[in-house]
Structures are given as structure tokens and as C-alpha cells.
Amino acid sequence: MQVLSKINKQSSIFTSLVSVFLGLLVGGVMMILAGYNPIQAYIALFQSAFLQPFDIGETIRTITPLILTGLAVGLAFRTGLFNIGVEGQFIIGQLAAVIVALKLDLPPVIHAIVAVIAGALGGALWAFLPGYLKAKRGVHEVITTIMLNFIALYLSNLTVREWLTDGADKTKEIPESASLHWNMLSQLFDSSRVHFGIFIAIVAAFFMYYLLWKTTTGYQLRAVGYNPHASEYAGMNVSRNIVLSMMISGVFAGLAGASELLGTAGYQAIQASYTGIGFDGIAVSLLGGNSPLGIVLSASLFGILTYGGSNMEYVAAVPREVIRVVFAAIIFFVAANIVRWVAQRRKKKVIDKGGEGK
């Protein structure tokens, strides 16, 4: 009993693992109900994510933006903010990157670097607005970020149609000089679309860890997140830290957008609705316990499920929507903290029995 209660206190990893397992189980039950063979489907899923070098490369490509949007959500969470606007910041990151890629004429490498930085700054700017409104006017960031998501989506569509093209549905391909495509890496994985973005994502994860737990800035960000009143008392600038936290979060989101655009898509298209990568960041961060390592791991899992899931459709003929149900179920179990609940019930039962024995 002691062991179990210890586990549920200390280890959110345990919670996460159990939730993943239960999530897959729910997906399996769904498949049985719909008349598919879940074992076959899951084997197909994991095989198609790993079997060939090409698939491994594509899986990594899928993981890349999820790490970055997960970090964006996680950093904001750690500092007491709920950034639902990662989706919008992601779109602005894409837009800024594509503009730099198409409108500027720079030498290779430098062009890509400038485009990535533009994406990061675009995301930061889009996150600055809700941060500033929260710090100065007390407007809740959930409201403003949701609204800014819509603005970002339609602003991007408008820009693509009216400025970057002549009423077309998508922009031209970006020039080679701005691309994050890296031949050597791509060839390593059998010409898959894996690109330099994965390194950006890994560095960002290290950066988040270092920033939050090793620097004076991180100390302040965390203090303000936990208790703004005590932070004010201690002489910290609460408003500045809220804005800063949102902006760093926005940088991660913008990097996700830039790396997706410059590495994977190569153009910006008019979108009828969100890509969902920003919203998936919330799930990634939640499952990863808002810690950089956890986020990298949970992004990997979601990436595997997403990429493998799309192949599962071809191999086992199971519709990929099932995988979205698995996602939702995992998050449901994490949020409900099912492990703790079971532990508590068991504890209670043991005590009740002990009482009867006397």
C-alpha cells in the first residue's frame, strides 16, 4: 500500500504510462465494436512507424512540431499561464517564415536562419498581445489567445490570397536557400522529409530546462507563476514576467510553425481550419507533465501514433480517426488522474477491512 501511494505522489511518469496504456485499450475496444481487429491494427501502426528507415524519418518529422508546441504550452503552464493560442502563434510563425522565404533574397543557410528567426519573432509577437493584456488590463489569456487564433488563421489566409499570390490557394514553393531540408539527413532516412527542425526542437527543450531551473529569469518566471503577490513583495516585476513568459512560449510556437513550413510543406496554403498541431501541444504537455524531457517523450508517442495511424488505415483498413480517439482517451485519463483515484479507492478498502477485523 505504501508503495502505491508513494508512486502516485512522486511519479507522474507512472500516471502517464498507465494513461497511455488505458488510452490504447479504449481505442482497441472501439475497434472491436466497429468490427476491426485491434491487435492487427496496432501491429500495423507500430510497424509502419518504425519498419523502414523512410518511416522512421517521417515519424521524426511528425514529432518535430509537436515537441515545439508542447514546449510552448508547457513553459506557459509552468509560469501559471494557459496559452491556448499556440495554434495561432504557430500560424503566424508559418506566415512570417514564408514571407521572409519568398520576399527576401539571401544566400543559403543565412536565408533559412533569418526565416526561422522571423517565425520565432512572429510567434512571440502574437503571444505578446495576450501577455500584455493580461499583465496590464487583467484580461484572461484563455479568452484573448482563443480569439487571436481566429485572427491568425484568417490573417494568414488573407495574406496568402491578396499579397503573396494573385488570388491563388497557396504560395509558390520557397527557394532552396530558405529550406530546412538537409540532404544528408534526408538520405540517411531513405529520402524522407525529416529536416533540420528536429535539432531546433531538441535545443529548444534543453533551453526550456536551462531557462526555468538554472537562471535568475527562470526563478522569477516560476515565482510569478506560483504566487504573483509574493513575487511583487520580493521586488519582482510581475507584469514584465507575465509578458516575457508568453513571449517565450510564443517563440516556441513560432519555431514550430517556421520549421513545419520551411522543412516540411515548403509553401503556405489557405486553410479552412486549424492544423491542430498547436492544440495537440496542450495534450503533449499535459501527458509530459510539463517538463521538457516528458514533453519530448510524449511528443514522440503522439508523433508515432499520428504517423503510424495514417498508415494503419492503408494496411489494416482501420480509419485513422480511431487514433484521435486514442489521443483523447489518453488525455482524459491523465487529466482525471486515474492512477491516483484507483490508489485512493484501494487504500480506503484496505482500511475498511482493517476496521472490521477488530
Partner: protein
């Protein structure tokens, strides 16, 4: 007859034994105090009696009958009711609605509001509670809300009432009224268990006391056979002195002077209205007054947490009016804040991290942009040892520490920065006698080191014991200065209420 008898109750939580073979015997119709320091295990014992926890060992007898209380419902059936310290009321509901919540009388599936109101009124009249059944909770005072809590237990037929530190939230006059109510309840045959660490109240109303210390049963005594200092030493485990030992102050140069200060409160109304004050090195100035007369705003203005729209605050000859909190801290102001959870600590940080809340970005705790954790932890370890902060280690979250130890941590941090001027706002609120004694000693020690100290407390006695001069604040102004050695309760009381007194002691 014994209303309650708990024998050899043991309750273990991971890592601690909260109750170690505790006995509690409460006779029918008495007011029985359960006395112990914060964290002694009083609440655990009462939660067992109320069915929220199950004991690992031990037996419980209610009215001489062995019982197992497996849940609050069972406790309710046995006639045990709890008046919680933190009220569990629905603010926009009326008194009656709150009382019937969960056991609404119905007629044809509709709540019988009129019948309920009548019943509530009847109970209220019987025990002299004077509660208006139709008033909304949000419109009535804290004291009245507490009576609603009492009514709730009575409505459910409780005749053994547990009062969990009921006086902590009440003003002196409300305490008097509560005591009358408790006496009425006992007169009507109810039994009361009174959880507290306030000795005066025990001496005043209780019949018997059970003392527990660090989870262990220390003893049961009749109030008639004991006195305050004996109770205190049983509770703390050593002799406690109620008088503060101190030499006469030797005030030197003026450290802080405030001239014609005006500060608005959060609603935009002037809370400090043209206040003047001087504090010298080596003295404690006590700020006495009824809550809400501008004390908090004055302190927040001095520390830069609120801006003053008129007047001047001068520290060591230099104006610090409306500087940023950080700048004021750096110029030598220490601040033990009124609300230690809201202002004083980041509860989710470790106690170690909390020790550098203002100094984390200075050498040696930071080198450039990076924190130097070895230095921070070394510093924290030293403070924790020097100030006797009881914590498993420096990595324990501040939240997990007892109130007294949290406060000791804050005092350690503030005093160690070696400020010229130290503000102590309600430094012992909610603490028990043992902890209070230690904190008082620290403040005197700082005074003797030549610091200027402003002590704000709503406990008149505390101000009286510690201060070398007392400033009485009334409606945002110093209504008068008195000398604690010669003043009387009447004199201070009169000043606190806005009356005029001829004598002025300004050294």
C-alpha cells in the same frame, strides 16, 4: 455519563504518527478543550471522531456504547456535529437554504421553505443565536456566519458539537457573544469539544482540558485545578514565559520618518490620511489599532507595494517615497508581511528557494544569468539551522511546513539581510505560544542590535509587551502616542475608538 470516549487512538500517515495512543474522555454536558500546538494532532483526532479518518488502533465509545464511525454520515447519526474553522456555506443562498442543504424538507416534491424557516427560527431562538433565517450569507458578518454553521449542526440533531478553533476568525466582541452561545448550548444539555490553542479562552469557559503534544496524549485536567502557565508548559513541553524579557530601549538616530502621508486603499478611498511618524534605531514602535484603520496601507506604502499620493517617507535621510519594492528593499527595509501565504512565501517553492526570494539575482547566489544552487542551499541550510526552522530538509516545499516554521523561515530571511528598518506585521498571527515566544525574542534581539522596528499587531497585548512606544492609529492617522509602561487599557481603547487623550509621549 461520558458523551465521548476515545481510547488509545493511533493514526499513522506515511512518515508520521499523527496520533499515538491518544485518549479523550468528554463528559455529558461539559465544554471540553482539546489543546495542542499547531500540528500536534488535534485535527486528526477530531477527523477520526467525525468519521473522516479511520484509526489504525483504538476504540471509540459514544454515550458509553462502542461504535465504529466509518463516515461523516455515521457521525451525524450518532449526533456528532462539526463547526468548521473554514465555513462551508454557499454565499448567495439564504441562512435557511444553507442550513437545510442536503436534508431539505419537502412537500409534494417541492422544498417547504416556510416550514424550514420556522424550524430554523425556533432553534435560533432556543439557543439565543439571533440569526435572521432569510438573510443572505454574503450580507451577514463572519460572526453570524459562524452561528449559521452552529445552527446547521443543531438542525441535523447534533448534541455533541466539535468547534474547530472557532475564535480564530472573530473580533473580541464576537468572541464574548460566542461564549454566551456556548454556555446556552451546554445549559440545554449539549456537549462541546473545543479545539484551541488559546489558553485564556480555556480558563474562561471550559470545564476540562485534554492536552496532546506531537501526537501523544499528555494528560487530562480539570480547568479548576490548573492555570495558564501550567497548561502552556504541558502543551509545549517546557516552561513558557508570558512576559517578554527586555531591557529598556536605547533609541539612537532617527531611521524612518514619515510626514503627512496619504495612501488610497484598493477602493480608491484615502486609508492613510496625513500620517506622521518617526522611528529611531534601537526601538520598537508598536502600531495599535482596530483592523482596517490604514495599517496595511501604511505598511504597503512604506515597502513600495502601494503608492502614496501625498507626503514623504524618508529612510536614513533619503526619500524612498514611491520607489519600487526592490529599490526599497535594497536600501535596507526588511518586511515580515501580514499574510505569510499570500506575500511572504512562494508555497510551491522549496523552503531553500524561498530563502533567496529577494536576493536570488545577487552574488553569490547568481553569477550573471545563472543561479548558483550550491551557494543558495548553503545559505538556506545556515538560516534554517540558526533560526531553528523545523523542516525535513531544504528541498521540502514551503507549503508542507507548519505555520510557525514558515514564519520562522520568513523572519530568518528578512533579519539575515540585515536591514536598518524592519517591519513586522502581525508576526505571530495564528501561531501557538511556543512559537510566539521565540518570535518575540527575535524581535527584541534585533532591537538590541540597533535596528528600528515597526510592529503592527491587532493583538493589543503583543504590542504592549514588545513596544517601547505605542502609536495608536485611527482612521489613517496617529491618534496618539502612549508609553506602554504607564498607559492603561482604557487610554489605548479610547484612542483606538477615536477619542482624544491629553498625554503625548514623543521621546
Amino acid at each position: 455519563m461520558n458523551a465521548v470516549e476515545m481510547k488509545g487512538i493511533t493514526k499513522r500517515f506515511p512518515g508520521i504518527v499523527a496520533n499515538d495512543r491518544v485518549n479523550l474522555t468528554v463528559k455529558q454536558g461539559e465544554i471540553h478543550a482539546l489543546l495542542g500546538e499547531n500540528g500536534a494532532g488535534k485535527s486528526t483526532l477530531m477527523n477520526i471522531l467525525f468519521g473522516l479518518y479511520q484509526p489504525d488502533e483504538g476504540e471509540i465509545f459514544i454515550r458509553e456504547k462502542k461504535t465504529e464511525i466509518t463516515g461523516p454520515n455515521i457521525a451525524g447519526e450518532l449526533g456528532i456535529g462539526m463547526v468548521h474553522q473554514h465555513f462551508m456555506l454557499v454565499d448567495p443562498f439564504t441562512v435557511t437554504e444553507n442550513i437545510i442543504l442536503g436534508s431539505e424538507p419537502t412537500q409534494n416534491g417541492m422544498i417547504d421553505q416556510r416550514k424550514a424557516e420556522k424550524e430554523v427560527q425556533a432553534i435560533s431562538d432556543r439557543y439565543g443565536l439571533k440569526v435572521d433565517p432569510r438573510a443572505k450569507i454574503r450580507d451577514i458578518s463572519v460572526g453570524m456566519q459562524q452561528r449559521v454553521e452552529i445552527l446547521k449542526t443543531l438542525y441535523r440533531g447534533a448534541d455533541i458539537l466539535i468547534f474547530d478553533e472557532p475564535t480564530a476568525v472573530l473580533a473580541p466582541k464576537e468572541i464574548d457573544e460566542l461564549i454566551v452561545i456556548m454556555e446556552n448550548l451546554v445549559k440545554e444539555g449539549k456537549t462541546i469539544i473545543f479545539i484551541t490553542h488559546k489558553l485564556k479562552e480555556i480558563m474562561r469557559i471550559c470545564d476540562a482540558v485534554t492536552i496532546i503534544r506531537q501526537g501523544k496524549f499528555i494528560g487530562r485536567v480539570d480547568v479548576a485545578d490548573t492555570d495558564e502557565s501550567r497548561l502552556a508548559s504541558m502543551m509545549v513541553g517546557r516552561d513558557v514565559s508570558f512576559t517578554v524579557d527586555k531591557k529598556p530601549a536605547q533609541p539612537k538616530e532617527t531611521v524612518l520618518s514619515i510626514r503627512n502621508l496619504r495612501v488610497k486603499n484598493s477602493r480608491g478611498v484615502d486609508a492613510v490620511r496625513g500620517l506622521d511618524m518617526e522611528i529611531k534605531a534601537g526601538e520598537i514602535v508598536g502600531l495599535a489599532g482596530v483592523d482596517g484603520n490604514g495599517q496595511s496601507e501604511l505598511i504597503e506604502a512604506i515597502t513600495g507595494l502601494k503608492s502614496a499620493h501625498k507626503g514623504e517617507i524618508v529612510l536614513n535621510g533619503k526619500a524612498i517615497t514611491n520607489l519600487k519594492p526592490k529599490a526599497i528593499t535594497h536600501r535596507g527595509v526588511g518586511h515580515i508581511p501580514e499574510d505569510r501565504h499570500r506575500r511572504g512565501l512562494v508555497l510551491d517553492f522549496s523552503i531553500g528557494e524561498n530563502m533567496v526570494l529577494q536576493t536570488f539575482d545577487q552574488k553569490p547566489f547568481a553569477k550573471g544569468w545563472t543561479l548558483q544552487y550550491p551557494q543558495i542551499f548553503k545559505h538556506a541550510k545556515r538560516l534554517i539551522k540558526e533560526f531553528d526552522v523545523r523542516t525535513p530538509d531544504i528541498h521540502t516545499p514551503a507549503r508542507a511546513l507548519s505555520g510557525g516554521n514558515q514564519q520562522k523561515g520568513i523572519i530568518a530571511r528578512e533579519v539575515d539581510r540585515d536591514p536598518d528598518f524592519l517591519i513586522a506585521a502581525q508576526p505571530t498571527r495564528g501561531l501557538d505560544v511556543g512559537a510566539i515566544e521565540g518570535i518575540h525574542r527575535r524581535l527584541i534581539e534585533q532591537r538590541d542590535k540597533g535596528k528600528a522596528i515597526l510592529l503592527m499587531s491587532l493583538e493589543l497585548e503583543e504590542v504592549w509587551q514588545l513596544a517601547d512606544r505605542i502609536a495608536v492609529i485611527y482612521e489613517g492617522k496617529i491618534a496618539g502616542w502612549v508609553d506602554p509602561a504607564t498607559t492603561t487599557e482604557e487610554e489605548i481603547g479610547l484612542l483606538m475608538a477615536g477619542g482624544q487623550v491629553g498625554t503625548e509621549v514623543s521621546s
